[in-house]
């Protein structure tokens, strides 16, 4: 039996897990569910030795354990399949399966015949169609995932943690995976299964444990909890309060997409997307991880570099997203959800960060008028209440929220008509969040339209006029923010096709 008691974990003084206590039985598949940010991944990272700076206790079979690092957790019998692929692409399937535990002959020479033979016998159980000496990079994402599953299952572990193992798998691969899970269950292993797909959870799990906002809500036998009950447990009651502001949407359409389909290298990314956006309207995009939120925004900005069909019009004229510089010329601004890797120039000061997209306005013959530039930046930034020591200090010295405001200022200097904001409040403290909400409201009342993706549903309910819910790259619903609720949005985000009915409680 795996038991955690009163697990607490903080990231830079913000507590994200508030005392999680629960127990998982042997020979039982426990599904762990919760919204994005509920703390599932953090908890699993503690259970696999990635995070070690937590308080509370973990025990296996009654004995307290402390995982010093992922390797130590493996030695103590925890085997985890991560959400992101972690195979080494240039090694063969067999080498990946036995990485770190290769059969060795004398002087540490790897016994390759045995390695391949052992791998073959494991792969046979998975109906794996390729030879074990195929390099992993040649496999499809789904089969790579199966290799990862095979690696985890070949370990002689007591506890198996599967973090969204099915997100890249086809139906048949999922069937094989589930058969293996049932075998492990019969052998009396502990299995923790994290998934966003309710059908799968109801198919494979025996119990469902719910996390919400870093708290353990409860554990329920699958047979005793209905799907709508489960969703309302995940959402909770507290967040029904929504401060809806008066909409400033006009009747004039700025952007419209009709039956938009986007194809990536590995398949369809988005399909059947139809929406329109009025001047001054704020459209929210909700959806689970991998639902295509970011892809939709990046595509509209022209930086997804993918083929598409369907009709898009911008202010009545046909619009084909090409590239960032073209979109910016057309007064569309995109704010990445990844501030550090796709937003700030960490080596440069605030002025330079802010003016980067509009330098041509301050240049003659390529030479910059730094005074005009600084004045324009000051005007813009000071209206956003950015806490700074000096405009010449490096942007990396600012807090996340202030960095985000500087980046928004970068967009506003462009006098945009359309803002594409991808998770604009990610990793930002509560105070700064509220300020950014107010800012977005102000912008929409001045006639700027925005599309905002967020994994925080209350946030969308607060700032948006309408909310487009995506599921697997397809639109599940478009809901008016004033007439919907977090439960309804989550219901559609989980791909529960049927019309939503309010649970009677």
């Amino acid at each position: 039996m795996l038991r955690t008691s009163n697990i607490k974990k903080s990231f830079s003084s913000v507590e994200v897990l508030h005392g999680i206590s629960f127990a998982v039985e042997k020979g039982c598949v426990t599904a762990l569910v919760g919204e994005n940010g509920a703390g599932k991944s953090t908890l699993m990272k503690i259970l696999s030795g990635v995070h070690t700076d937590y308080t509370g206790e973990i025990s296996i079979d009654g004995k307290p354990v402390f995982f010093k690092n992922p390797r130590h957790a493996q030695q103590l019998g925890v085997s985890i399949i991560h959400q992101e692929l972690s195979c080494i692409p240039h090694l063969t399937v067999a080498e990946n399966i036995f990485i770190g535990k290769e059969p060795a002959r004398r002087f540490g020479v790897v016994d390759f015949p045995k390695l391949f033979a052992d791998a073959q016998s494991i792969l046979d159980e998975f109906e794996f169609p390729y030879s074990p000496n195929t390099p992993v990079r040649n496999l499809s994402v789904g089969w790579q995932q199966i290799v990862e599953v095979a690696r985890a299952f070949s370990a002689d572990a007591k506890i198996f943690i599967l973090d969204e193992p099915t997100s890249a798998l086809t139906e048949n691969e999922i069937r094989i995976l589930f058969e293996k899970i049932r075998v492990l269950k019969k052998r009396g292993k502990i299995i923790i299964f994290i998934s966003h797909r309710l059908e799968e959870i109801y198919e494979i799990a025996d119990e469902i444990a719910v996390l919400r906002d870093g708290q353990f809500i409860g554990k329920y036998p699958v047979k005793e909890i209905s799907r709508s009950e489960l969703i309302s447990k995940m959402v909770g009651k507290a967040i029904h309060e929504t401060k809806q502001i008066k909409s400033s949407a006009s009747s004039e359409t700025v952007l419209a997409a009709e039956n938009l389909e986007v194809y990536g290298k590995t398949g369809t990314i988005l399909s059947g997307i139809t929406f329109d956006l009025k001047r001054g309207e704020t459209l929210g995009v909700a959806g689970l991880l991998g639902s295509g939120k970011t892809e939709l925004l990046k595509f509209l900005f022209g930086e997804l570099k993918a083929q598409h069909t369907g009709r898009i019009t911008l202010e009545g004229a046909p619009y084909i997203p090409k590239c960032a510089s073209r979109s910016l010329e057309g007064s569309i601004f995109y704010l990445s959800k990844d501030r550090k890797t796709e937003g700030i120039f960490a080596d440069l000061d605030i002025i330079k960060n802010c003016s980067m997209s509009v330098l041509s306005d301050f240049a003659s013959f390529g030479f910059l008028h730094e005074k005009e530039e600084a004045a324009a930046v000051r005007d813009q930034v000071s209206s956003l209440n950015v806490k700074l020591e000096s405009y010449h200090q490096s942007i990396r010295e600012l807090s996340g929220g202030n960095q985000q405001k500087v980046l928004i200022a970068r967009g506003l200097l462009h006098r945009p008509k359309l803002l594409l904001l991808d998770e604009p409040t990610r990793g930002i403290d509560v105070g700064a969040k509220a300020e950014i909400y107010e800012l977005i409201e102000q912008l929409s009342s001045s006639g700027i339209s925005s599309i905002i993706s967020s994994s925080e549903i209350p946030e969308l309910l607060r700032i948006c006029d309408r909310i487009l819910v995506l599921h697997n790259g397809m639109p599940a619903a478009i809901l008016a923010a004033g007439e919907t609720s977090a439960s309804e949005i989550l219901h559609y985000a989980f791909g529960e096709g049927k019309a939503w009915t309010k649970p009677t409680d």
Binding site: F301, E303, A324, S325, S327, L328, E329, Y334, S336, K340, T341, E342, G343, I344, F345, A346, D347, L348, K352, M356, S357, L359, S360, A363, G366, F367, L368, E370, L388, E389, S390, Y391, H392, S394, R396, E397, R410
Partner: protein
């Protein structure tokens, strides 16, 4: 907020390298040998101008190298491009009789094209600049040898020889050799471009965060390519000077020049990770290398020992740059904190 905000004196990026130059300059005076009259040989005007003349080729190459490195790349082909340019110069003047201006233009054009290929293959071929310029290093050298048919070509004046204006590169004005003027002028011009123009700003931006630069609407591929064109063109300029000083175009010259240029850039405080650096620093780095070679040469210290010492100096200089010696403990701490969260 505070319009008069100034970085603290010791916070300015170029301070450490400039201090480095001063310290080494003082050391050179202290350790200078004396001549029979009791004068310090090091401080003689001819010696000082000679140092500047010796570093001018490296200095000009290092200017282009600074742009490439700040933009997040590296250029290993500069030494070979120098040899190619020197070879074209000698052949253009002597064998092809193209005259002064056309020969110069040809040498610069070929060097720029080599730089353009470096940049274009890096940008659109999505190959690391290290690999691309390593290939160009080999190819440009091969092309120089092909032109010269494996021989060097001496440049001479007079009938059937080079126009007399070519002697400018081996002439001194007011006691200062002409290449020194080119070196100083090049540094000042591109210092201005780096600091005061849109292009200069973009160079820092793409070196600091390429993804962000793309999303901010910068034409990253072209900007990167321009930095390589600049590095190629300036190597070509250095090649012309090289031919003019030696009165010879030798396709085998310029070996290892890329390392001297990179050393100067790095000693000058420019980060090989890109996004950070100054041309003032590079200028200081060039001088530091020149001063050290000079003082060791004045003492008759052999090349082998000079090289070993140069290696040690590079490491020591970078150690100081990277905060091995903290001038401002508090500020550098907060900076390091930011560093870890970068990328």
């Amino acid at each position: 907020m505070d319009k008069t905000y100034r970085l603290k004196f010791s916070e300015r990026e170029w301070i450490k390298p400039v201090f480095g130059v001063l310290i080494i300059f003082v050391m050179c005076i202290v350790f200078s040998p004396t001549n029979t009259k009791g004068d310090l040989v090091f401080l003689k005007f001819e010696n000082l101008t000679n140092i500047l003349r010796q570093v001018s080729e490296n200095g000009i190459i290092a200017v282009g190298m600074t742009y490439v490195i700040i933009a997040g790349g590296i250029d290993l082909s500069v030494g070979s491009i120098l040899a190619l340019s020197a070879t074209i110069t000698a052949f253009g003047l002597m064998d092809w009789q193209l005259g002064f201006l056309i020969t110069m233009a040809l040498a610069l054009a070929v060097s720029s094209i080599a730089g353009f290929l470096n940049g274009a293959i890096t940008s659109w071929g999505k190959i690391q600049s290290f690999i691309v310029t390593l290939a160009m290093m080999t190819a440009a050298r091969g092309f120089a040898l092909f032109i010269a048919n494996n021989n060097s070509r001496d440049v001479g004046f007079g009938p059937g020889g080079a126009p007399s204006v070519f002697a400018v590169f081996s002439t001194s004005y007011w006691g200062i050799p002409f290449p020194v003027f080119i070196f100083i002028a090049t540094t000042l011009l591109f210092l201005l471009v780096l600091k005061k123009t849109k292009f200069g700003r973009y160079v820092y931006a793409i070196g600091s965060n390429e993804e962000a630069a793309v999303l901010a609407g910068l034409r990253v591929k072209w900007i990167r390519t321009y930095t390589f064109v600049l590095a190629g063109a300036l190597s070509g300029l250095a090649g012309i000077i090289h031919a003019g000083q030696l009165m010879q175009g030798n396709p085998n010259d310029g070996v290892g020049f890329e390392l001297d240029a990179i050393a100067a850039v790095v000693i000058g405080g420019t980060s090989l990770m890109g996004g950070k650096g100054t041309l003032e620093g590079t200028f200081a780095g060039v001088l530091i290398i020149g001063l050290l070679s000079n003082i060791l040469g004045l003492h008759g210290i052999q090349k082998d020992f000079q090289l070993m010492l140069k290696g040690a100096i590079i490491v020591a200089a970078v150690f100081v740059q990277e905060g091995g010696i903290k001038l401002h403990p508090l500020r550098s701490m907060s900076r390091n904190k930011g560093e870890t969260s970068r990328r």
